[in-house]
């Protein structure tokens, strides 16, 4: 065996001398990786179509992205991803060339150059009281020389120069914690009106001098019944709202500082009214919208202040803001939902009856309903108004409609991936292969001849371009069937919109998508969201007659005790196979290591009452489960209380309706962390599907260390309660980080260690018998990474070679955690330059290949770091034998090799997670990184020692062989002749 390793090493050395480096060449970019850019669900959109310049739309999204999109093709001109806490409140365009964004609760105002997206200036507007935020850019207002932007945030009103972000004046408006509802600036005057609601019952109107910020007039009036929140502004001096009961409409007139209330009962407008109405946030001329009895009612306010119902629509109708047309008129758009289509209507503000435009557009049912609509106008050749409409659908996708057609669409739901799972493609057989991609022999030869030319450096630039194109469009990688190497797979991703996508690993295209009905808003499920994805069925023995499927776990509301929903989706077809719920609450999903006869994995779902439910609900699954009942345990980590508890599954639970798939649990052990000194901040376990090749680790002196490999290990990190805050909020003396390695069957603490003066956030990864974690060292002012390796001492006495030779050892017999094997741990710490967003580790099919850590850096890139750098056996001066084994001399910090950035020059904006999937080829692992962007690539941590590189020149090999054969033949003839002559002499 050792020999095998040595020979392998030898081969590796030979290979490493052939392969120049781990990194890739410039022309290999895009060869086996792909990168997709998204922006997320659009919140605001501002069109910029005035000039002859490129038409664009500026959008801000729920992923905190501000972007400029090409209005013709939907491509991104530029894009900025703000931090996760920097939520964009409003965007607008100032001076026709700057994009102004207001974010972080109205405290950060930024200006971006419209053509290229460079930041022009940034102003921090700090205020005392948190409040809502407003951005208002009056069209023609100058204070001195400066054009001005009005911003309301943190209880203060600011006038900011739009050219350089200087605050011209600041006025604190609300000491009592009110919210400005609207800023009204009538054109050409010197007064700006601010309408404020204080404490849901008081209506304030301020008149402020725009030049100085001086308060001119303040009028206030209390409405005893109280308001329900939102105000709808009808004209510049009338606003409409509802009272707290939601049954009385209150029209507020605040003309000239005098405030008056006019009340109208909703039932006067709608006879069938019952319950409570909801004011919808609309900005329509002389009109507002109410949601009554699950339908949307448009109500017009006449000049005399009377209210009359104009029209009633179904609930799933989206309305745009009003749009000024050239003749001083206003228009707005409405999108209604039809069956497999949407109906777009554009109406004039003053005339409800006639439509400026009505179009019906086919829309995939998988897109759901329209959530947001933005309308923009353009002049047609006949000088009439044409309209283009930007629609945000339920699945967060974005469409531009013009002249009854979809001009472009963007799948921006993929910007909010919450969970990923890999699934196999169908096996290649007759009639399954979707894409016919095999080309003929001539083309194959031609391609290889081109490659040969490239290798011999006699290729012309045209040839090089052809080679590059051939590489990128290699049809082999985008086939719809399984390949020999296992590079082609499906990535099933769940997005925040509750939609499942299947992405092909070859080129990242969407194979199918499914908007899960169980994760859509409904009567029984008000705020559904997807929680996680699990492999439900992964057929190996029944590959040909069973399709793989995934389990989608969701929850109806935000609280943990809300009912859960389950869906099982076929990954070949993208059809929902089964649906359950809303049923019991779901707090934990435990995939069990058992499968039934059709290879459906058994899952244990725990609810908030600590009752376990078995899925699939079949008698066969129940039999398997009951057989293994005594060996199934589970643990719960309570972050708030700081308690870790171990449980065992007991007999059936007592319910009103007997359920043989429901089980009670009982407590076995508990670890109570002292709440005054420790707070749980991170838990990490091993990946269930991780393959481990061997349990032994051979050191340089031929000694063996046995790894303690258990799937039931938990890595737990706690910090002192003071150190929970951000870095720097605590002194090193009162901050510490404690890490534990705990066996979750017995509750035994295998290892614990305290890092004094250290702080979170902790990112960790657990693989085989080691944990690597990343934290901040306050004393050294640097980030650190530590490694813990766990070894089993109780197996060390297997020393008799003869016994091993005959197989008479207990190394492979099943072990129980109750035998309390003696373990030792080794650990070491290193400085690390980067802060890390997420940590992952490469995984291969058999677990033979050495591992690499994948670090999601703060710069949204993925960095690969050899596990060899995090080896607790590193010493400053390793012996020759240790060096030979591959132990690197100890240094205080981990090196960052620029070539080992997996994402090379690209950024995965808003990086949230990295998933690794083993390929069938042992040397290779597939890496998928997701955030706002998606990135996929193949990695070979020990280089591709088991296959030839893809650009290996078969033509060269062939020519060499032919040449050699000819040479042999010629020399043979020569030698024959010479021999004959020798004989004649």
């Amino acid at each position: 065996m050792n020999m095998a390793i040595r020979v392998f090493l030898l081969v590796l050395i030979i290979f490493s001398s052939i392969c120049p480096a781990l990194c890739i060449y410039e022309d290999q970019v895009g060869h086996m990786d792909w990168h997709q850019q998204y922006i997320g669900k659009v919140k605001h959109a501002v069109f910029h179509t005035q000039k002859a310049a490129r038409k664009r739309v500026i959008v801000s999204t729920e992923e905190n992205v501000v972007a400029s999109l090409d209005l013709r093709r939907g491509e991104i001109f530029w894009r900025h991803v703000l931090g996760p806490n920097d939520v964009i409140d409003a965007i607008d365009i100032a001076l026709g060339k700057y994009v102004i964004t207001l974010s972080s609760g109205g405290t950060i105002l930024r200006s971006w150059n419209l053509p290229d997206g460079q930041m022009m200036w940034e102003s921090i507007l700090s205020g005392a009281t948190p409040s809502n935020s407003l951005l208002s850019i009056p069209a023609n207002l100058k204070i001195g020389k400066d054009d001005v932007v009005f911003v309301y945030g943190s209880g203060c009103l600011y006038a900011v120069a739009s050219i350089d972000g200087e605050v011209i004046w600041k006025k604190e408006l609300t000491s009592e914690g009110g919210n400005i509802q609207q800023l009204i600036y009538p054109d050409g005057t010197d007064i700006i009106y601010a309408v404020v609601l204080v404490g849901l019952a008081q209506f304030d109107a301020y008149q402020i001098n725009v030049k100085t910020g001086e308060l001119l007039k303040h009028s206030s009036m209390v409405f005893p019944a109280g308001f329900s929140g939102d105000l709808s502004f009808i004209t510049s001096d009338i606003a409409v709202t509802l009272d707290t009961t939601g049954s009385v409409l209150v029209a507020v007139h605040f003309q000239g500082g005098a405030i008056s209330f006019h009340q109208t009962h909703v039932s006067e407008l709608d006879r069938d009214f019952s319950g409570a109405a909801v004011m919808l946030p609309t900005k329509l001329p002389g009109m507002f919208a109410l949601e009554i009895n699950k339908s949307i009612v448009f109500i017009k306010v006449t000049n005399e202040g009377k209210l009359e119902v104009v029209d009633t629509f179904g609930r799933s109708t989206a309305v745009t803001e009003s749009l000024y047309l050239s003749e001083g008129q206003q228009a707005f758009g409405l999108v209604q939902q039809g069956d497999g289509e949407i109906i777009l209507t554009v109406k004039r503000g003053d005339d409800w009856k006639s439509n400026l435009l009505q179009e019906t557009i086919q829309m995939d049912y998988q897109r759901g309903i329209a959530h947001k609509v933005f309308v923009n106008t353009y002049a047609r050749t006949d000088r009439s108004n044409g309209f283009r409409v930007l629609i945000v659908m339920e699945d967060h996708s974005l469409f531009l409609l013009q002249q009854g057609e979809i001009v472009w669409s963007r799948e921006d739901g993929l910007a909010s991936v919450t969970d990923v799972i890999a699934s196999e493609l169908p096996v290649e057989k007759d009639g399954v292969s979707v894409a016919k991609v095999e080309h003929n022999l001539f083309e194959w030869l031609k391609g290889h001849l081109l490659k040969l030319k490239g290798t011999l450096m006699i290729a012309t630039p045209d040839d090089i371009a052809a080679i590059q194109k051939m590489r990128l469009q290699s049809s082999e990688k985008s086939k719809m069937t399984r390949d020999h190497n296992g590079f082609r797979k499906l990535l099933i991703v769940l997005t925040r919109a509750g939609k499942l996508f299947a992405l092909h690993t070859g080129d990242g295209r969407i194979m199918w998508s499914l908007l899960l009905d169980s994760l859509r808003k409904s009567e029984t499920c008000q705020n559904p969201r997807g929680l996680s994805l699990h492999q439900w069925q992964d057929p190996h023995h029944h590959v040909l007659d069973e399709n793989p499927s995934v389990l989608v776990v969701g929850r109806c509301d935000h609280s943990t005790d809300s009912p859960g929903v389950l869906s099982i989706v076929d990954t070949y077809t993208g059809q929902e196979r089964n649906r359950m719920g809303p049923a019991h609450s779901i707090t934990r999903v435990i995939p069990l290591p058992f499968t039934d006869s059709v290879e459906q994995r058994l899952h244990l779902l725990l609810d908030v009452n600590l009752q376990a439910r078995l899925y699939p609900r079949t008698t066969e699954a129940l039999d398997i489960f009951l057989r293994e009942l005594g060996n199934i345990y589970w643990y719960s980590a309570d972050v708030d209380k700081g308690i870790l508890k171990g449980h065992a599954v007991q007999k059936n639970c007592i319910l009103e309706i007997a359920d043989s798939y429901c089980f009670n649990t009982r407590d076995l052990w508990s670890i109570v962390l002292p709440s005054e000194s420790e707070k749980i901040i991170a838990t990490v376990t091993r990946d269930l599907n991780e393959a481990v090749h061997t349990q032994a680790k051979v050191t340089s002196d031929q000694e063996v260390m046995y790894k303690y490999i258990s799937k039931n290990l938990l890595f737990l990190a706690t910090v002192s309660p003071k150190a929970v805050g951000p870095t720097g909020s605590v002194t090193p003396e009162e901050s510490w980080l404690v890490v534990y390695v705990i066996d979750t069957v017995t509750g035994r603490i295998l290892h614990h260690m305290t890092h004094h003066g250290s702080q979170g956030p902790v990112q960790a990864v657990f693989s085989e018998n080691w944990v690597v974690y990343h934290y901040f060292n306050l004393k050294a002012h640097r980030y650190e990474m530590s490694v813990i390796e766990i070894y089993d001492q109780s197996r060390l006495d297997n020393k008799d070679i003869l016994k091993l030779l005959l197989g008479k050892h207990n190394l492979t017999s099943p072990i129980t955690a109750y035998s309390r094997p003696e373990v030792i741990t080794k650990s070491q710490s290193y400085f690390f330059t980067h802060s890390v967003k997420t940590l992952a580790v490469t995984s291969t099919a058999k677990g033979i290949t050495s591992k690499q850590l994948l670090l999601g850096t703060i710069g949204d890139q993925v960095l690969a770091l050899d596990k060899r750098f995090l080896d607790p056996r590193r010493t400053i001066n390793p012996t020759q034998a240790e060096k030979e084994e591959g132990i690197i001399p100890l240094t205080d910090s981990l090196p960052i090799i620029p070539q080992s950035y997996v994402t090379h020059a690209l950024k995965v904006e808003g990086l949230r997670g990295i998933t690794t999937v083993p390929a069938k080829l042992e040397s290779t692992t597939l890496v998928f990184a997701y955030g706002v962007d998606l990135f996929f690539t193949r990695l070979a941590p020990s280089r591709t020692y088991d296959s030839l590189t893809e650009d290996f020149s078969y033509a060269l090999l062939l020519i060499t062989i032919v040449g050699l054969v000819i040479a042999i033949f010629v020399t043979w003839v020569w030698s024959e002749k010479k021999e004959l002559q020798e004989k004649w002499r």
Binding site: L9, T560, T587, V745
Partner: protein
């Protein structure tokens, strides 16, 4: 012309072997001429020839001993080469080691062939053969020893357990922080 060409083409037609001194009749097709006796032994020559044969036997024995001792030189050289090649696994040391293993094995396989020229009824080849074999075995041993120092022999526990898969666990546990 044609005939001559044909003769030239087919090479020689006949030849006379003047150095033929084989004693048996049956080996030849042509019978000896009458009165000619091939085995005409001069009785006077026998003493001389015996002496000559003794000398030859001595010489053969000496040569056989030389041959038997020849692996020793080889051994020395091999030892030197092994010492030079060091104890790390690389192309050179592996080459040396394998040649060190191959040479003795090859020599042992051809022991009889090596001593074939010195085969004589009066020469005792057993002792030289034994020495030769022993020396080659020493060489083989050195090769194996070298193999061991290179770590290519499975004599350690590590060689037998390095690919043993992890043991199965009886218990199974899952769970964690509630899903958020």
């Amino acid at each position: 012309m044609d005939k001559g060409k044909a003769i030239m083409g087919s090479g020689r037609r006949w030849a006379v072997e003047f150095t033929d001194n084989s004693t048996s009749n049956s080996a030849r097709d042509i019978p000896d001429p009458p009165g000619f006796t091939r085995a005409s032994h001069d009785p006077d020559d026998s003493a001389v020839s015996k002496q000559k044969k003794d000398a030859e036997a001595n010489w053969k024995a000496q040569k056989a001993w030389d041959v038997a001792q020849s692996p020793f030189k080889n051994l020395c050289m091999m030892g030197f080469m092994m010492w030079m090649s060091g104890s790390t696994v690389h192309l050179f040391s592996i080459g040396i080691t394998f040649s060190a293993l191959w040479q003795p094995v090859n020599a042992l396989r051809g022991v009889d062939k090596v001593f074939e020229p010195y085969k004589d009824n009066r020469v005792d080849l057993l002792a030289p053969k034994l020495v030769f074999t022993a020396l080659n075995l020493v060489g083989l041993g050195m090769g194996i020893w070298k193999l061991n120092t290179l770590g290519l022999l499975p004599t350690h526990v590590s060689d037998w357990v390095s690919s043993i898969a992890p043991a199965q666990e009886v218990e199974y546990s899952g769970g964690g922080i509630p899903l958020q």
